[in-house]
Structures are given as C-alpha cells and as structure tokens.
Amino acid sequence: MSEMNMVSALNSALANLMEEDPSVVLLGEDVGKDGGVFRVTEGLFDRFGGNRVIDTPLAEAAIAGMAIGMALNGLRPVAEIQFMGFSYLTLNQMISHASRLRNRSRGRFTVPMVMRTPYGAGVKALEHHSESTESLYVQIPGLKVVVPSSPREAKGLLISAVRDPDPVVFLEPTRSYRLFKEEVEGTSFSIPLGRARTVQPGSDVTVVGWGAMMPLIAKAAEAAGSEGISCEVIDLRTLSPMDSAAVVNSVRRTGRCVIVQEAPRTCGVAAELIARINEEALLSLEAPVVRVTAPDIVVPLPQGEHYYYLNANRIYDAVKRVAAF
C-alpha cells in the first residue's frame, strides 16, 4: 500500500497489467517517451519497450481502429485519446465496429479494448479540453463506460476494464488527477464493473454522481448532514451498463433524489436515471428528482468557466430544496 494520486494509481494499474499479461499494449499520442500529457503512462515505455507502449501518429480514428484490430487479434490494447474533446474522431470506429463486432460475428470476434481519455472541466484549460460528453458513449449498445472517482477506484476499475471481454470507454476526471491522494495497493486488484457504490448510507435524500462530482457531493452531503439532512451518496462508477437498480432501490427508501452531472443537461445520464426512477419508483417519490447539471451551452473558456462548472454550494442548495419539498 502507498499513497497515490489518481495519475500514479492509473500508472500502477497499467504497470501491473503489463507485467501480468504480455498481450496488454498501450497506444496513443505521446504515451511513449513523453509518458502522456498527464503522465499516466510515465516510465512504461522504458520498462516495456516501444513495441508495447506505442507512440502513434496524430490520428485518433486510426488509434481507435488499430486498437480494435489488435483486440480482434489477441491483444488487450489500452488506447489513450489525449482529451475527450478529440474522441469524437473515434466515434465512427467505436460505434460502427468496437461496439458491434461481437454481435456482428455472433461472438466469433470480440473487442477487449479500453479507450482511456481525460474528461471534464474545472482545470482552466483550452477550448475542447473540458468536455464531458459521456452520454455519447453511454447510449451505444455494446460499449461499456466507466468513470472512477478516486485513486483507488481508478486503479481497481481500470484493471477490470482491461480484463473485461468487451470494449470499455474509461473516462478519467482531469480535475481529480492530482486532487488528492489515498492509500492504494501496489499489486493488482480489481473493482467489478457495472456496480454502483454506496459511498455513504443515508435516509433522507439520495445523491447520485460520478467522477469529478464525487468530491463536490461529499462536501455538500457533509454540509447537509450537519443540518440534519441525511444523504445517501451513490457513486455510479459504471455509466454503462448502468446500475440504475442501486439508485432506484435507494430512492425507494429515501423518496428524494438529486443527480449531479457535470455534463450539460439535455439527454445526459441524469435524464436516463430520472426516466428509470420514473418507471420503477414513481410512487415512492416525495419530490421531483432534481438534476444539478451544466447548462446546455458550450463549455466557456476559463474566464467564464465558473458559470458552467458545478460546485458544492449548488449541490447543497439542491439537496436542501429537495429535502424541503
């Protein structure tokens, strides 16, 4: 065990995986010598060589396509897309092939690949470097989508993602990369995909989020708690397949729910959760489910980012409102 931030936890996961399984390879822009723009792959080029830690030309569709081909042919590729804002270039490969080859070939061909990419706002970055468009991927049958919220979660989930027989889009919250450290095992361990985590049990309001929203939610829940509102905090972790049952079950008990989504409002994961709560637990609801999300606008450049990016206050206010409804 040692103290790791999310970057070092991810690095440790990749190192473990590459040691254990010679079929694990990394590819992407600047993942080799440079160790990745966020240093997630640092040291792996020296350790495992350029054949397994592959610096590619600047070509996202090819990175995704190659990863698919590698996965079809026995490797477990982990592709890095430098920022989620550049992942749109991979969408045709991801939708048309990665997600479908198993079905297309009736299971003869499978695509055990991972596409890692940093996502999210809040680090005062350039345009296109703050995207949170996870719902583009969540709606695609055949893809899995995973978002870790802490260093240990990141390591355990990434290991599961790489070992998973299906293609996984692994979204790393840029803002959490170096936000805090926690104790993480140096050896490999896994956290199963597809299961939400109850971070804190509670009885008054269910608060759901994922990724970089979790630290904000923790703060808001604590503040609410100190005012006697007991929050049940759920980290969704895997957005697809979505463990909505965990959320629905919680809402059945609390009757109230706040969903915190970094992405703009429309057609996001929060909407889907609300739809499922509506379908399965409408009669338990004592108040409308509240979405705390970014507005339906382009992510502003840094000087306007605070209008877009959520904070603990707004979550806290929402919790209070729902509790008081």
């Binding site: 190659m66 990863a67 590698m70 079809l72 026995g74 092939h97 198993r102 061909f109």
Partner: protein, 362 residues
C-alpha cells in the same frame, strides 16, 4: 522488385497476360501448379455463379440489397491466392472470389446478404473479418490486426481491401500513414473499379493513379491490371513477402471495373454510358484466365462446362441451405451485445418478449 519496375510515377501498369491468355512478360509468369490454377479457375467461376444468383435472388425478394462482384473476381482472388494459411483477410463488401479462395463457405455469404447475422459467424480459425460496410473503416483495423501478429512474431500478413471511393476517406489515409510509420505487415489492395456509386474515379481524386498515393506514406505502391489474375497474384506475393520480412506495407491498385450496378438498388444507366461497360467486357478476368489455361492445355471445353455446372450446383445447394436456415430468435438479437448480458438488458429482453404479440413477428 516489381514496385521499382512499375513505379507508379512512371505510369506503367503491371500485366502478365493479355486478353487472349498470352503471357506478355514471360519473366513474370508465376510458376503455379496446374492444380492450383484449376482451383483458381473453379473459384472464380463459383464466385461469378454465386454473384449472379444473388442478383436474381434479390430481384425475387429472397435477398436484400446486394453489391455485385461481376468483373472484379481476379482483383480480390489474386491477392487471396498470395496469402498463406493463417494470414488475415480484411474485406470490404465486394470481394467474394477472394473469400471463397480463402475458404469462406457460400452459406455464410448468402446468409449475410439475406439479413441474418449468422452469416458472419465465420468458421473458427478462418482469419477473415466480417464485411465492413462503412467505407474504408476496415483499413485502420487491418493495421491493428497486423500489428498484433507482428508483436507476437507470427510471421503473418494482413491483406485488406477497399475501393477507389474508399481512398477519399480519412480512415484510408490514417491507416496507410500509421502502417507506414509502424511498418506493419500489411498489404493494402484498392479495387479501383472506376466508380463509387455514381462518382467516377476522375472525380474521386485528382491524382492520376491510386497507386501513387503510396508515396504520401512512404509505402511501396504499384498499379496492377486488376482483371489479370496472374498479375494480381505476383504483385501481392511480392508485397506479402516484403511484409513478412518486416520491410513494411504495400499499396496495390487493382485497376478493374464494376460491370454491374453499384448494388441491386442502383441503376448505373443514370450516370454512365453503357458503352463503357461494353468495352470492359472484352477484358473479363474469367475469360482471360480461361484463355491462358486453354493455351497451357490445362482446360478444355468439356472440363469448362463441368466447372460451371459444379459451380451452379454448389450455389443452389448453398441457397437452399441459407433459405432453410432458421431466422434469429429474440434471444439472438440480445445475447451478443456483451459477453455477459447485463441485468438491465435482460430485463429489457424479458419485457420485449412479453410485449410482442404473435402477429408482431415480422
């Protein structure tokens, strides 16, 4: 090296046979056993027969929209012949002859075009990827496949196809370029059949040849008479050997012609002169091979008739089998979404099963 002798910048096209089956460049004639040549001829004929049947089936409403292969048999089969056991073949959607050579059962082929996913459940061990409909999207995938083979030092080659239209897509470019940098053991064949639906080759790119695009990627490139089986074979053979030696990928332009409509939904008379196709009839790849075989004494009229009747019989058998094949069950359209069905999806499936009435089945 052929790629030197036929440097695309010098505008020479590789040919071995003329239309009378006469060898135009003796030094280039490959030494192929009669049995191999006979199998090649049989396979091309089978492809032609199966293809013609598919068009008929479509007209009869027994098969969906279908892209005819007529005239392009040598362009896909010559390259396939240059492969070895275990090599990969990544096709687009107009490479029937090559697939048959590699061993794909006709049943799979018909099932697929009849709209049943079981068609793409290829026999285990057969390294052919399923049809790839989004134009050129298979090219980057083929680079990854080749990379994986090379990483394990398997000495395998990945042969990938796309069309002249496909060369305009970003995927084509990214694949060629990455493959050049990583020196993956790929052979890329562009079936330049002069048309991409209604768009002629001249409007697809302002480059005079497709082969010369190789130079943008540091690849070897060569333009080959795509209706000349022997030329396609030797060009691919050389390229495959180069790839196997770790000397990088090659781009082969197969200069051929789409004799039919783009698909059975298309009517080529809207955009091209019928005389154009007429001219190409004289360059039919099957007739050319036949003339060569006859000139070698490896084929005669009787055997030729037999080849055709065998082919037609095989086709009828495959069609019957395909038409007798069960349509997918409800579970089938769900169960291959993930390795393990997520519980929410299972719930969706059960709900759908309950909701579907009997009359809803089709």
């Amino acid at each position: 090296m052929l790629t030197d002798d036929y440097d695309p910048h010098r505008g020479r096209m590789l040919k071995v046979l003329d239309q009378n089956g006469k060898v135009v460049e003796k030094a280039l004639e490959p030494k192929l056993d009669d049995s191999v040549l006979e199998r090649a001829y049989r396979t091309m004929v089978l492809s032609r027969a199966a293809d013609e049947k598919a068009v008929i089936l479509q007209r009869q409403g027994r098969l969906g929209a279908y892209p005819p292969n007529h005239g392009q048999e040598a362009a896909s089969m010559g390259p396939a012949m240059a492969l070895e056991e275990g090599d990969w073949l990544v096709w687009a959607f107009r490479e029937l002859a090559g697939l048959l050579w590699k061993g794909l059962p006709l049943l799979n082929y018909y099932l697929y075009w009849m709209g049943n996913e079981e068609g793409s459940r290829y026999p285990p061990g057969l390294n052919i990827t399923p049809a790839s409909i989004p134009v050129a999207s298979q090219m980057p995938i083929s680079v990854g496949i080749a990379y994986a083979s090379a990483l394990r030092s398997e000495n395998r080659v990945t042969l990938a196809f796309c069309g002249d239209g496909g060369t305009s897509e970003g995927d084509f470019h990214e694949a060629m370029n990455v493959s050049g940098v990583l020196r993956t053991p790929n052979v890329f064949v562009v079936q330049n059949n002069q048309w991409a639906i209604s768009v002629p080759r001249s409007r697809q790119t302002a480059a005079p040849t497709i082969a010369q695009k190789a130079c943008a990627y540091g690849l070897k490139g060569i333009q080959v008479d795509g209706n000349d089986l022997l030329a396609m074979y030797i060009a691919t053979k050389e390229a495959a050997e180069r790839a196997r030696r770790g000397e990088g990928p090659t781009l082969i332009e197969a200069y051929t012609y789409r004799m039919g409509n783009h698909t059975t939904s298309d009517d080529a008379r809207k955009y091209r002169l019928e005389s154009e196709a007429k001219g190409w009839e004289l360059r039919d790849p099957i007739s050319r091979l036949k003339a060569y075989l006859i000139s070698r004494g490896s084929l005669d009229d009787d055997r030729e008739k037999q080849v055709w009747s065998d082919a037609r019989e095989a086709v009828e058998k495959a069609v019957a089998e395909a038409e007798g094949f069960p349509p997918p069950a409800l579970e089938d359209v769900f169960q291959y979404t993930y390795a393990e069905m997520p519980s929410e999806l299972k719930t969706e499936m059960d709900r759908l099963r309950a909701e579907l009435r009997d009359g809803d089945k089709g």
